[in-house]
Symmetry: C2
Subunit: 310 residues, 2 copies
């Protein structure tokens, strides 16, 4: 799926959003730091590229056309994702002046951190953050050693020597391609059924694998997997090509489920494949300053709309 040449560049989308917000090409130009004719030409270029007029120009300013309103709203989604990427990139640089050093498990760093960092950057501009990834044991080590101010781990318990708070919950899901037999299934999968089905999974030793095996122990344990792959991405790709039921973190497939490129198979209530995600810090040493602030952002916000149950 390559992007068609009709999609404007990020800079152009940003400019369009500024025009919609400020009501004038000239003011938008000033805001993004280019000359007015440049902005004008850029918008015109977008219109040519897209094939539809986006702005109604008048001597008193410019407003989006009907189609323009749609493009603006769609573009906002792209720019917001880019801002999250930006916030993440900013945290990847090693910096001497870092005021907050975070170590997180891969799942948290991949799917939740960018949103949190973006919110933090908006709430407290100038807070330099550095981010590293590590597995849960290493995270605990770094936090205990004082290499990091705040850690994020996944798993049922808080590591010894640390205090922590659950900030979100991940959940394993079973997904199949839309054409798969189970895609139309309404009856929830029982533990027995799941345990007896060869699944496509991550390698042994991964966090998700452990959760699944733990949950299936009461049902006699899982049969050997149909396939073992090294990354969430590989799992998703396998699922889409119809390689049979795949079990992985919900966070990895939110987008695919929403656009129905993958379908979630309902699971029986008896199966609990949830896994808490925790912020951790040295016991008895309450986080202050930027760490406290980041912690505040993660509370009651999972990076995705919360699910309600019961």
């Amino acid at each position: 799926m390559a992007l068609s040449p009709h999609v404007p560049e990020l800079g152009a989308l940003e400019l369009l959003l500024a025009v919609a917000r400020l009501g004038s090409v000239g003011r938008a130009a000033a805001e993004v730091g280019v000359s007015q004719p440049t902005a004008s030409a850029r918008i015109k270029g977008m219109e040519r590229q897209i094939g539809v007029p986006l702005l109604e120009r008048s001597p008193r300013g410019s407003r989006p056309t009907e189609a323009g309103r749609l493009v603006v709203e769609w573009a906002r989604q792209v720019v917001e994702a880019a801002q999250a990427l930006d916030a993440g990139i900013d945290a990847l640089r090693e910096r001497r002046d870092a005021k907050l050093r975070v170590v997180a498990s891969l799942t948290v760093a991949e799917y939740l951190m960018p949103g949190w960092l973006l919110a933090l950057a908006e709430a407290s501009p100038g807070t330099a953050v550095t981010l590293r990834t590590a597995n849960s044991a290493e995270v605990a080590g770094h936090v205990l050693a004082g290499d990091a101010d705040l850690g994020f781990v996944e798993g049922p318990t808080t590591p010894p020597g640390l205090a922590g708070a659950v900030v979100a919950a991940d959940r394993l899901v079973v997904v199949v391609a839309p054409g798969h037999r189970w895609a139309r299934r309404r009856a929830p999968l029982t533990g027995t059924e799941l345990a007896s089905t060869p699944l496509v999974l991550r390698e042994p030793g991964s966090g998700t694998r452990e959760v699944l095996e733990m949950a299936l122990t009461p049902y006699g344990g899982a049969v050997p997997p149909r396939m073992e792959l090294a990354s969430s991405t590989a799992l998703k790709a396998a699922a889409m090509t119809g390689a049979g039921p795949v079990c992985l973190s919900e966070l990895a497939v939110v987008e695919e489920l929403a656009t129905r490129r993958l379908v979630e198979v309902p699971l029986a209530e008896e199966l609990d494949l949830r896994r808490p995600l925790r912020a951790v810090w040295p016991a008895g040493q309450r986080p202050g300053g930027p760490a406290r602030e980041l912690l505040g952002l993660t509370r009651r916000s999972s990076g995705r709309p919360p699910r309600r149950k019961g």
Copy 2:
């Protein structure tokens, strides 16, 4: 919030994703249609821009570094949003060869259509779709007149002469800035409280306004609004600057709630601010072909992860 100059362009992000997927710069170059040296230079440019090596190069190919894996995953979000934008843009052109003509209410077109169109494009490449927006009455008219093959409306009933199916539900929410007094509120707002609070709202006559007034009738009706604004965007901006409680469609603020730039105020169970979104077609004339396919994609998929209740 301008994007920093550290964010690579969409083309570069796409190239990076291809490298991660294919395991080689050269193969990725071939896929996106540039020469190998160009791809190599582009990746190198990204690394300089970001300030961190993204790939581990070897004579056998290239794999993302630890930081690279994070950037790849974050970039995927951006590119997927761009693909949705692309699918939307493609549907905005007026085309003679359109196989499927859709008319949708603004809320559906803005927030749900891009994902559906993307899914449709992936499932059936080459299906030319055209999209227009209209209010619910106009949508019904277009569908009845045969100007459109499929319509999407919001509101409690299916318009006369049409058959329909609920494909998703929107929900009005009350949001405030994180600094607002109510942001820390745990006790749900009662109907009486909400009715007696001056809110920031859309103008009278808008769909959301009607839903709110209907829901507050049992409590003596709403007091006059504190402010009336013309668009969801204006409402969001007002909320973020702390203009007091704002009531608008949940779909408009999913992202802001997730990153905690806005906070949802809990509402009492007694208040039902949900509003069904329906697909409609001429009564007795079941949609076939592409319309049927699109309809299939919208079922059980709300464009966002479904909420569970009870």
